[in-house]
Symmetry: C2
């Protein structure tokens, strides 16, 4: 930052503020379906303090990257997944949210297929693991709050977008699709009403392939009509 530019632009009153001692991070909430549970990717510190606590994957923002790029980079480092679905959620800025110092964090939500996640303990300070949302460990600082916010957003988005596609394989049956909705929303859905709704949303189409998965009538395989998210960040 060229200081003279700032000086020209701002009154002395503002000039005092240019020295900022704030670090900026991104937190990425990675949701996935694993063993028929809504799950989330968490990292663990292997050293004290807070050794027993898990955290949402996070990282510092580089000077020459956007927040979104930082989130993508972090996620790729942790999971090897590129081009996942990513959406900015909210920026958390409580002064004492991180006892180590002043850290403001922009939270993102990512959606991945579990089979794509190639989580690794990349450095000795980290270990990555998928946890079921109904058996969450103790989380760092305000990470529980961030996670709750993300879950709410995910549930909301399922209703009027096609983001569910990032939690499913390329081809799937309507029963599988319904199951994912039920898992995320945590409620049972009526088969017929669900199919009507999906039909109206227009997010899937038949592949005309059928698949036999047991001693019963085979199910039609469907695919998503578009890879583009119907409503992303409304930007």
């Amino acid at each position: 930052m060229k200081l003279y530019d700032v000086q020209k632009d701002l009154s002395p009153h503002y000039l005092l503020m240019i020295k900022q001692d704030i670090l900026l991070t991104v937190d990425s909430i990675v949701f996935t379906i694993y063993k028929e549970k809504l799950s989330v990717l968490l990292i663990q510190r292997l050293i004290e303090p807070f050794k027993d606590m898990r955290a949402i994957p996070w990282g510092f923002v580089l000077d020459n990257e956007t927040l979104e790029q930082a989130a993508y980079r972090e996620l790729e480092e942790e999971t090897k997944v590129k081009n996942t679905y990513l959406e900015q959620l909210y920026t958390f800025s409580d002064v004492d949210r991180d006892p180590r110092g002043r850290v403001i964090s922009c939270a993102y939500m990512a959606l991945m297929r579990h089979e794509d996640i190639n989580a690794k303990a990349e450095s000795d300070a980290k270990e990555v693991k998928v946890f079921s949302m109904d058996k969450l460990p103790k989380l760092w600082f305000d990470h529980k709050k961030i996670l709750d916010y993300a879950l709410q957003r995910l549930r909301y988005k399922l209703e009027y977008t096609n983001v569910v596609q990032y939690l499913l394989p390329k081809h799937f049956t309507l029963s599988e699709l319904q199951q994912v909705y039920e898992i995320v929303l945590n409620e049972e859905l009526d088969v017929r009403n669900f199919r009507k709704k999906i039909d109206k949303l227009g997010i899937v189409k038949e592949t005309w392939e059928r698949v036999v998965r047991g001693a019963h009538r085979p199910a039609m395989l469907y695919e998503f009509t578009t890879k583009k998210t119907v409503i992303v960040d409304v930007l």
Copy 2:
């Protein structure tokens, strides 16, 4: 920030990133109704460069305040309004969004009554003025994009919250309320359907006072049932 804490927590890989050369600001989009137009508060640089351009009011975040507090503080400095409605929108982080240097900005939306705004040219580097949204001047950098985003959010929020109250006086007629909706949404609304909708939202109640405003039947004055925003940030 105590460096040893960070070192303990992070791998060398991350340690490199701790030196961040990023400044953090808040931008506050202030909407108000003025002369039957949806309007926005903008500031002007009185010196080169970009002297002709207007900007959304902004300011640096202090080390010991939240983003929200920074936005409130800035707004109070510019307008003398305290306790206005304020909502976080989105954090804009394009690397080149500000040609003067790396500045990441968290955008907030505020709603004010025009008569409450006591805008002032506080320093010689600024001048504050309310502009109609349909006669916007040229704006700094990405400020037009931020403003568009804010408008969209405002329109959306009108539909299912009572935030409109921050644009109206304490007592008002249903016609006035409808007019504000029409101004913001930029569309005409059916009188009867509008009243049914407001009734269903349950955000207003009768004061049983009537007001005569011309040679016609007097209108009932209403007030909002609650000052609490029905759905704020869903946090």
